[in-house]
Symmetry: C2
Amino acid sequence: MKDVAARAGVALKTVSRVLNDEPGVAAETARRVREAVEELGFRRNEGARILRRGQTASIGLILEDIGDPFYSALARSIEDIAHRNGSLLFTGSSDEDPARERALTLALCSRRVDGLVIAPASDDHTYLLPDIRAGLAVVFVDRPPGRIEADVVLADNVGGARNGVAHLIRQGHRRIGFIGDAPRIFTATQRAAGYRLAMAEAGLVPDDGWISMEQPTAVGVRLALTRMLGGPQPVTALFCGNNRVTVLALRALAALNLHPAIAGFDDFELADLLGVTVVAQDTGNMGRIAAELLYRRLAGEKGRPQRIVMPTTLIARGSADS
Amino acid sequence: MKDVAARAGVALKTVSRVLNDEPGVAAETARRVREAVEELGFRRNEGARILRRGQTASIGLILEDIGDPFYSALARSIEDIAHRNGSLLFTGSSDEDPARERALTLALCSRRVDGLVIAPASDDHTYLLPDIRAGLAVVFVDRPPGRIEADVVLADNVGGARNGVAHLIRQGHRRIGFIGDAPRIFTATQRAAGYRLAMAEAGLVPDDGWISMEQPTAVGVRLALTRMLGGPQPVTALFCGNNRVTVLALRALAALNLHPAIAGFDDFELADLLGVTVVAQDTGNMGRIAAELLYRRLAGEKGRPQRIVMPTTLIARGSADS
DNA sequence: TTGAAAGCGCTAACAT
DNA sequence: ATGTTAGCGCTTTCAA
């Protein structure tokens, strides 16, 4: 910028004025400055500007895996809101590792992002307190924060799973299996609770062997399925706890050539063509609402932390029938 | 940091030394400093550090849509390499809009990202020249840069499409349709060329009506399909130009209850269960290689711009047969 | 309408 | 082993 000022024969401050469209610069002077900018290929150092002004116009997004369709859809809707608010977006994948989540988050705090949207893997976010006190806005999404009070946008996990399982029950099923995820994952536990609730409401008592709460792998899901579908009293229907489980289960069932009724939490691409009944969450809206809440907080909206629960939709496509 | 220094009763520089693990600080002094850091909830302002040191330890990724599975897989592999190199990652979606791509890119340049990975929508990247001259590293991925020389990592689009179409021909098909994307998109044109090549090599002359080069929409694909599959000489097989087209075509065919042979460029989740034959690109490796090249350039590797072409893999799953 | 000087929070270079 | 000074590139404040 110094070079630009020299070239245009004006003071530093005048260049700054032109670049920021501040009033009080003669048209001719402004023209000369712009010309110099062009000739030098000058690009303002945003970092220095930020240092001086104290607002970074950037937000961070921490999630489990940007490569997962559920999270990438979330990321996209958040990016749109960030863009609309003139912010750039940092993204980071925690891989479900609390230490990596924390490291990533603190790195973003050091960069002084204005706000953070976190789909947490950790259950303790007290480490964010100094930054929040210093003005950082944080909204949690998909899962609640741990040991701090903060805004959070969640799906109706219990209600959604309950609806899905109730649908299977309406189709006449009595022995229904649930394949979830590791119990430390909030959504997994909530959806399992929804399963139990639906069963209880129908007067059904699930056998212990009908419930699997493990981190989903191809091998693990196949084992769980052979266990549930073998023996003298096999389950006749399955409810899967998330999109990854559903996909793994569909593959395993195809390989085993078994065809129980099946439904799952989360919609996924081509579920329609495969005719798979799902409980869909509105991922796009969830991200949008979380990001909009973040920007309202940044704009100064006060009030106690909100807990927004998004409804889910049962989409019956046939796989749950019979 | 000033506050920390005051609290620990040392000079600013000593705090800086402790925070950077620089040698020459007594253990006891360091302890006092760390204590003060803890008590004050101090977090170093990375922006100021960057301003002083001139390296941002961040890179940017510009792609069409972070919500698209193809690109989100790419993003994930790039994020991993960035993480391994101690960088944070900015992501931005251009929505196939050259102006948005440019705006996003320049915003990142102003933030002084160390490097940029771009899956370009624009065909003119001369606007990057000043930044490249100033030391910015840029690697293009999926599509080549426009009007500048730069490193690029591409899939073997011509060869892949050719292999896919040749596979259909080997199954006995003679009238084969191609549904691509807008011709201004590099990959679309390349894959169409691969289609023509395979046809020509088999001595087949494609009818004009067998080729559709439009931005894929549900309606557009359905129309193209009814045109190709209607009439007295319908095509008996289809080759789709990318994952989105393939999915739209599968949906349209199911709705129309038509079952021509089909194959497509790009693998996609559940293609295995649907038995769809595809030409797969190794997205993860493509991102990894692009990002690694970027970091080699940042580490000072000289030499003329590279053009790396990644092989594709034909995965026959049955949908191309008969 | 324009400019000079101070300072954002940090680190490099040079004392002590 | 520790401190002092200058300055990264910009904006803010105040003056002309």
